[in-house]
Amino acid sequence: MATTKFTKMAYDAADDLIFGEAKKPISYGLGLKVGQGLVIPEINFAPRPGSEKSPESLTKEYVDYIATDVMNRAVTLGFPSVQLENEWIFQMSNEPEKFAKPVVAGQKAVIENYHDKYGIACAVRHTCADSRLHEQGMRFGQDKTHNYPEKMIESFEVAADAGADIVSIESVGGKEISDFAVVRQDIRGWLFGIGYLGSIDMEWLWTQIVDLAKRKKVIAGGDTNCAGANTSMFMAGGYLDKDVPRTFSAVTRAIASARTLVAIECGATGPDKDCGYEGPILKAISGCPSAQEGKGAQDAHADLMGNLIAQTCDLWSNESVEYHPEFGGSSVQCWLGVIGYEAALMNASKQMKQDKVLRDIYVASDRFRSPEGFILAYDNAYKIGQAIVEVGDNYYLRAKAAGLKAAELIKESNEKGKLKLNKQEKDTLNKIITDLNSLPDEEGKFVDWALKEYKDVPAFNPKNYEL
């Protein structure tokens, strides 16, 4: 399972990174052109509880209501393009033929109708669930009760056959360790869980997804470390939250980027997942387009970089909203309006030849709002990317380098008096730097230590990673 790892940057300079354009653009779906000069809204939604009671009610919800509402609103407001995203619910993953197939086919038929009638460029992304249970086994043949690893791959087959244009996943390799580590603020454990184990699992998984996508002629989009870095970011919360310091979550984000990169190294082309906030780092390294979300994703969660994260996006997403009525229409229509107009703003800036100015205003809004956004600002994201590719051949070393670089950038700005840190954030940052620097320079030694240190973590089984 050899993959070509990134050892150099796709972009010569950070300033070349901009929304709506990618070094490796891609076209798919019904006339959808990603990274080729325009930003596209990506609308993401969840069915109402109860609609899953039968395939008929679920299909009605996803096809007659959600997809139809979306396309109606996109045409009503004049949006040139739109991408729909489905994050598969349990019933769809558990019985793909029965529950997922009619939804996939039905949505495709709806968007085809609108494309034929109006010419709107569109596509559908299907994000299959990673239903694997760590304690039951994550490799084929291990979970004999549910067969979740096998079911997970089967999902992609069904999705691709029934009409998906692009497939993605939010995979969970290493989460058993990162969950344990994040509540203890243990960056070394987090590095082991996501930087190392997570990367191994990504390679196992994405080699298969890319192969399947090639055979089925669909796009293998990408992944996100939602399970790790987003857990960390959501626990860190905002200025009233005191669970996880935001210097910790910032460093976890940098480490996560080294892991999410593996999908691209396996052959995924992007655009990767909207909730992968590590996207700017990946784009800087790989040149592949990325989907992002921020102020337009408030329906699903708040973050401290609502504007900044739009800086280099090729699709702009709302993350997820449950389908229900609002004064302004259905929820999917309201939030499509929010993200569609943001895409229009970015596209208008290109017409005015002011896209880099807008990019920099986006960054200025949130650069100093939190260390998490600070390290993702495209200039810093680029530097973290450089730290990764410098030792790009080794998962452990590059993830550690990413974490250390992020910590250094934060420290530097804080010492300059620009990025302010509260006491917890500062103490944690110093501990992170100490902890990471205390780790060995050799992967073998690190893994030996970690396997001992974390052997009792619930649900952790080295066999899941062939260790």
Binding site: E52, Q91, V182, Q185, K242, A364
Partner: protein, 288 residues
């Protein structure tokens, strides 16, 4: 049908991209020159406490030097030496006293510091690890089984594999002196109902991170009702909201893990689920 003329031809895109590079315009802004104060306010720094943990803790510390040592070990995350200190204390004090007035007293201080935003969650988790180690030693010296002040049964909903919220809540409840029966994650409704009927906890909790799994909760509530069992059922997690949880009997909403002990203690005070629910705002705001 005329096709909309919206497409960007590849050549157009590449052209504009190249011309910028040729010009060599350095466009990146000087971000360090902006005043972030005019864009955002660091409220966390605005209200940063200048109080030292030790000063706050002083008012809560046990007087007995042995118990004090144990409480300090908890507060200072000294999981390596705590077992030894508990052994020391067992020479002259009962296990019950050590647990109640040493280990749990230390966690009370930790909870107080956490509530004030001086300690963060990781402190709580690691302090709890320390407390657990010390507790094991003390429990070994108990005559019979340890008597908890109450028992909380916990689970993550059927179909839901997310359990980090439950695990944090379990630690906080344990640190508050409750016995925990953790049924795990993706627990069948049947199993929850059977176990509640069998083991009769003071409180049941459930977490659900996905809207398609939270429907397990009203089913549990209804089945318990059929069995004639009523217990405060604290429901939490990203999927649930107060409106939903209060739509079925027994449901008590909780937004944060830290609210667990406050709500569960009311059950021990003899408040049934209806009383807890109607006084919810006051309980959460510490006014009841």
């Amino acid at each position: 049908m005329r096709k909309a003329t919206f497409s960007i031809k590849d050549s157009e895109f590449r052209g504009s991209f190249e011309s910028l590079s040729k010009i060599g315009v350095e466009q990146m802004a000087d971000f360090d020159s902006i005043s972030a104060d005019k864009i955002l306010t660091r409220y966390d720094i605005v209200v940063e406490s200048s109080e030292k943990p030790e000063d706050i803790a002083e008012q809560y510390m046990p007087e007995n030097p042995l118990l004090r040592q144990i409480a300090e070990d908890v507060m200072n995350l000294k999981f390596k030496v705590i077992e030894q200190h508990v052994q020391e204390a067992l020479k002259t004090l009962t296990p019950e006293e050590i647990i109640e007035n040493g280990l749990l007293a230390g966690m009370d201080i930790v909870a107080e510091l956490y509530g004030r935003g001086i300690y963060y969650l990781p402190h709580v988790m690691v302090a709890s690890d320390a407390m657990t180690r010390g507790t094991k030693v003390a429990e070994a010296a108990l005559g019979g089984e340890r008597k908890y002040k109450g028992v909380v049964m916990m689970h993550a909903a059927e179909g839901d594999p997310h359990d980090i919220g439950k695990n944090i809540a379990a630690v906080l409840l344990k640190s508050n002196g409750f016995g925990i029966i953790d049924l795990g994650k993706d627990v069948l409704v049947d199993t929850v109902v059977d176990e509640v009927v069998k083991q009769k906890p003071n409180v049941l909790t459930g977490t659900a991170l996905m809207t398609t799994t939270m429907s397990a909760f009203p089913r549990i509530a209804n089945r318990l009702k059929e069995h004639g069992v009523e217990v405060p059922f604290i429901c939490a997690g990203g999927a649930v909201n107060r409106e939903y949880v209060e739509s079925y009997d027994m449901g008590i909403y909780s937004a944060k893990a830290a609210e667990g002990p406050g709500l569960a203690n009311k059950a021990l005070d003899g408040w049934d689920w209806k009383k807890i629910r109607s006084n919810w705002d006051e309980i959460i705001n510490g006014k009841a």
